[in-house]
């Protein structure tokens, strides 16, 4: 039988050795990990704006960076919908700049093809993060993607699946009078004859809380961008 002192000594040394091992591994791999996370976010912005990743040709980090710098312009707006000059979306500190919002637009040959905004909020088990993209008219959904969530596989995690995401493009998040109403995922599916069909999509069976959360944080996030988007809508209707 080992003495108490020996036991304490042994566990202390073991903790130091293993702690040293894990923290060395963490700090030496940190740079690559952060690069991957950033590339993953860029991937999301790209696919929300209509870029498609083919199975035969997976996107490498370099390819993502190239496409991103060629077609995507990131900028920052304030709560009144004005563009803040010389501010990079990556430099937003959520603690200080809580009323500044990043937005990305896809520009091909000088023509704007769409806007993409980050969305996030509570699902059932935790915070979901994704991007919501908007047609150049500032009123129609172009797409929706998620890059991080911890919803139940087969239920809430269906938000990742094409069948759910493909319902969004073409839906309007403003009513005919120009007021922001968001897009609602409807429990049990949409009623195809309803006059509200233009801002409704099929919900996910068995994932009421996830879809409720999504509906409300999508609306909340769109509110932040509405001053900017309504300017786009007004400039187009004149």
């Amino acid at each position: 039988m080992h003495s108490n002192n020996y036991t304490l000594m042994f566990t202390a040394i073991l903790t130091i050795v293993l702690g040293f091992f894990v923290s060395t591994a963490d700090s030496s791999l940190k740079e690559m990990r952060e690069k991957n996370i950033e590339a993953d976010i860029r991937k999301n912005i790209l696919s929300s704006l209509g870029f498609e990743e083919l199975e035969q040709e997976p996107w490498t980090n370099e390819k993502v960076d190239k496409m991103f710098s060629q077609s995507i312009v990131g900028f920052v707006i304030d709560s009144a919908g004005n563009v803040i000059e010389d501010k990079d979306p990556r430099n937003i500190d959520p603690e200080i700049d809580y009323n500044q919002f990043p937005i990305y637009k896809r520009v091909e040959d000088g023509i704007i093809e769409g806007y993409s905004i980050p969305i996030s909020g509570k699902g059932l088990w935790g915070t979901m993060y994704g991007y919501f993209s908007i047609e150049p008219d500032g009123a129609t959904a172009k797409g929706i993607t998620f890059y991080s969530h911890i919803e139940t596989p087969g239920l809430g995690a269906e938000v990742d699946k094409p069948w759910f995401q493909n319902n969004y493009p073409g839906k309007k998040f403003v009513d005919p009078a120009g007021n922001l109403i968001g897009i609602q995922a409807i429990k049990g599916g949409v009623d195809k004859t309803s006059p509200d069909l233009y801002h409704q999509v099929d919900g996910i069976s068995g994932a009421t809380m996830t879809t409720k959360g999504l509906n409300s944080f999508l609306l909340k996030d769109l509110k932040n961008y509405d001053p900017y988007l309504s300017k786009i809508r007004n400039s187009r209707s004149i």
Binding site: T7, F10, T11, L18, V22, L29, M32
Partner: protein, 208 residues
């Protein structure tokens, strides 16, 4: 001592068939159900478990005479947990998409009963070389079943093999449909049950 004497050989080969951790001891089936929808996740998961089992078994076997009996489980867990965190970090750095798909299941290797079980039942009593073989053997025994389950689930559920379509389009045109059940967890239960049955039949094992 020969590199592979009879006892060492047994340590390596037993868990492959006659004492397989999943199909005979029915340990660690949680992850076997969760990551077997596709072959690629099953393969990466198997490699991760083989690595963790081999290293933790060896380290614990080296330390076995020094580990105080009172805290041995905690010591085993710390060694295992460190290896799992290490694997998780490597996956995040080099195989980010894969690590996203495996999500929590890499971290859950820590609680995989096979690893704790081998550390406590084997590595605490045997030398490092034999424990290493035992770890690799059990890892391969686990991985073999995992990949087997994934093979059937992917083939029947998605019509693909390692991401490549193997069911010809003409089958789908003729009305063949992928089996949705195989993509869900119950599909894994059914396949695993059939594998356990087939294996016990082949290995000629009877319940006492």
């Amino acid at each position: 001592m020969a590199l592979l004497n009879k006892k060492s050989k047994k340590a390596f080969s037993d868990p492959l068939m006659s004492n397989n951790p999943i199909s005979l001891q029915v340990l660690g089936i949680c992850s076997a159900l969760a990551v077997t929808v596709k072959m690629d996740t099953a393969v990466v998961m198997s490699l991760a478990v083989i690595f963790v089992l081999a290293v933790s078994n060896t380290v614990i076997a080296i330390l076995r005479k020094m580990i105080p009996g009172k805290v041995r489980i905690i010591v085993q867990l710390s060694v295992i947990a460190s290896m799992v965190v290490f694997i998780d970090l490597v996956l995040k750095a080099y195989f980010y998409d894969m690590s996203k798909q495996l999500s929590v299941f890499v971290g859950l290797i820590i609680t995989n009963c096979i690893i704790m079980g081998r550390a406590e039942a084997f590595a605490m009593q045997n030398g490092p070389w034999r424990s290493l073989l035992d770890g690799i053997g059990n890892g391969i025994g686990y991985g073999g079943i995992l990949i087997g389950v994934a093979f059937f689930r992917e083939l029947l559920g998605s019509g693909t093999f390692y991401g490549y379509q193997v069911i010809p389009d003409s089958f789908y045109a003729a009305g063949y449909e992928n089996m949705g059940l195989m993509v869900l967890s119950p599909g894994a239960f059914i396949i695993l049950g059939l594998i356990v049955w087939a294996q016990r039949l082949i290995a000629n094992i009877e319940e006492e």
